[in-house]
Amino acid sequence: MSSTEQGTSSAAPAEPTTAPESAAAPEVPESFYYVHGKDKVVHKVSAGALQHSALIHGMISNLGYTEEQAKANPFPFENIDGDILQMVVDWCNQHKGKPTPPEDTNLPKQKEKLFDLVLAVNYLEIKELLTYCCKQVAMMVKGKSPEEIREIWMIPTDAEDEAAEKEAKKRAGKEAAGETAAAAGDAK
């Protein structure tokens, strides 16, 4: 979506010094928005870069913010760590208006960072980046034994799953009993 359609701009259009000789369309100034994560650090991102995120793209589509309004109203993503949001912003900037390559080798190698990035990217609905991240997560267990996979992805054993299920049932039973008792008390 172009900045003209949104009626937003980062700065007033430059005054034409001379009348253009060619019939080329005047360059449309790029519009910017502001986002911040858990750490409240604000990132300025172009609308073009934000198009990668279906969530943000949907949010800004009909806003009609001016530059000042955009600056004053950064989008808060309190569920995303600052460094993770920075990674996402960097990726969106790097791939602004470009076709995405078949793979991305610049994703974090550390498990926990990658885990948080996947959650953030899924939340922000950045399809291509999610695909890269998921490929990377899948690669972590390539050629590993079941026990190694369990360790890497922290998968509970069947016994642990069963115990957790029993516990959940027990808790649900207790809660239901509590609600029944409360309802009976109310009725009295």
Partner: protein, 364 residues
């Protein structure tokens, strides 16, 4: 990283980026994960064409391949690349016996998992792996066990094929001087389920197998008897495709074959037969008259009979064969037609799913 903390769409995307061999390993991690794989890959697994156990007795190794229908199909010769291998099962002499459990390792170049097992656990290991496949990939896939010692005679012993549910069996064997007792062979066929394909290279004299033997029920049989005059394998055949390469074959047996088909007395399932006779084959020149073949006018174009057979296995999985012949015979019981041709010392016989009337309508 806790996989279960991801939303389902993310888990699904991750699993869709994994190879079959990695999914196979993953499915052993927990029951819940196994169910997750099945639910995420419901559609993908439907595109699996076949799972093949390719057993190499000489190396005590069985490679299991998975062929995906989404990959470009090469029915002539499946690639059987390491990439298609889902697991390799290796019998180990020195593996410690005791309570059985899978001993997974990965190949040196990390391409596929390897399971090591002790000889005494063989049946149990194969059944467990196979039942796991049935659970994970479903039972609508074609599962095949292939055992081929066709080209490398290393001493005969009947194969020991684990008893696996829903598996078609394909074996190729050399029967040479090392075969001590043919009853062993009879026992092997009778104790196994019906074979999809049997290929035998007969290199020594042998007696006829029991006419009731399951051997004759095989869907497809290929016999090569270049050096000896063996028994008449054709007479009791009850399957669909048969190929005989014989040093000699009695004229009376060949007449008997066609006449019994024509009368409907035998070979009701037969679709395709090729009988090649190397020596004393002059009678083939007159056999068409003797079997009472019908002739289509030489100026007219007969229809082409097409069959997919696996008589060229193990070289090729499936071969498409076309037969265009001006001669045919008709079965009395249902008026069905079989095209017949004599070429290169060979009688070729292709049974149509058409009556004579329908067949003649196709003649141009």
């Amino acid at each position: 990283m806790i996989l279960s903390k991801y939303p389902f769409v993310v888990q699904k995307e991750i699993l869709h980026n994994m190879k079959y061999s990695d999914l196979f390993m993953l499915s052993f991690v927990s029951k819940d994960l196994n169910e997750l794989i099945k639910s995420c890959h419901k559609k993908t697994f439907k595109s699996i064409r076949s799972i093949e156990y390719v057993n190499d007795r000489a190396k005590n190794t069985c490679a299991v391949y998975i062929f995906d229908g989404r990959k470009p199909k090469n029915s002539e010769k499946p690639s059987k690349l390491d990439d298609d291998m889902i697991v390799r099962l290796v019998e180990q002499d020195d593996s410690k016996s005791g309570s059985f459990q899978f001993n997974f390792r990965v190949s040196d170049d990390y391409k596929y998992p390897v399971v090591f097992y002790d000889h005494s656990d063989k049946e149990c290991v194969f059944q467990s792996i196979h039942n796991h496949f049935l659970d994970l990939f479903g039972n609508s896939i074609e599962y095949t066990w292939k055992e081929s010692l066709w080209m490398e005679s290393q001493g005969f012993s009947t194969p020991v094929i684990p008893n696996l549910k829903n598996v078609s069996l394909r074996v190729a064997m050399d029967l040479d001087e090392l075969v001590g007792d043919f009853s062993e062979l009879e026992d092997f066929f009778s104790s196994s389920s019906v074979f999809k394909t049997i290929h035998l290279a007969v290199r020594r004299d042998m007696e006829s197998l029991n006419p009731e033997s399951k051997f004759y029920q095989a869907e497809s049989i290929r016999i090569r008897m270049h050096l000896v005059d063996g028994p008449d394998f054709l007479r009791h055949f009850r399957g669909r495709h048969i190929g005989l390469d014989c040093r000699r074959y009695e004229e009376s047996n060949l007449l008997d074959f066609v006449n019994r088909w024509k009368s409907g007395e035998a070979f009701q399932n037969l679709e395709y037969a090729q009988i090649k006779i190397m020596n004393d084959n002059q009678f083939l020149n007159r056999i068409l008259e003797e079997i009472g073949a019908n002739f289509i006018d030489a100026n007219r174009q007969p229809p082409t009979y097409t069959v997919l057979h696996n008589l060229s296995w193990p070289d090729r999985n499936v071969t498409e064969f076309e037969l265009t012949s001006h001669t045919y015979v008709v079965r009395a019981t249902d008026n069905r037609v079989a095209s017949v041709q004599i070429v290169d010392h060979k009688l070729i016989f292709g049974v149509w799913n058409k009556t004579e009337e329908e067949f003649l309508k196709m003649v141009e």
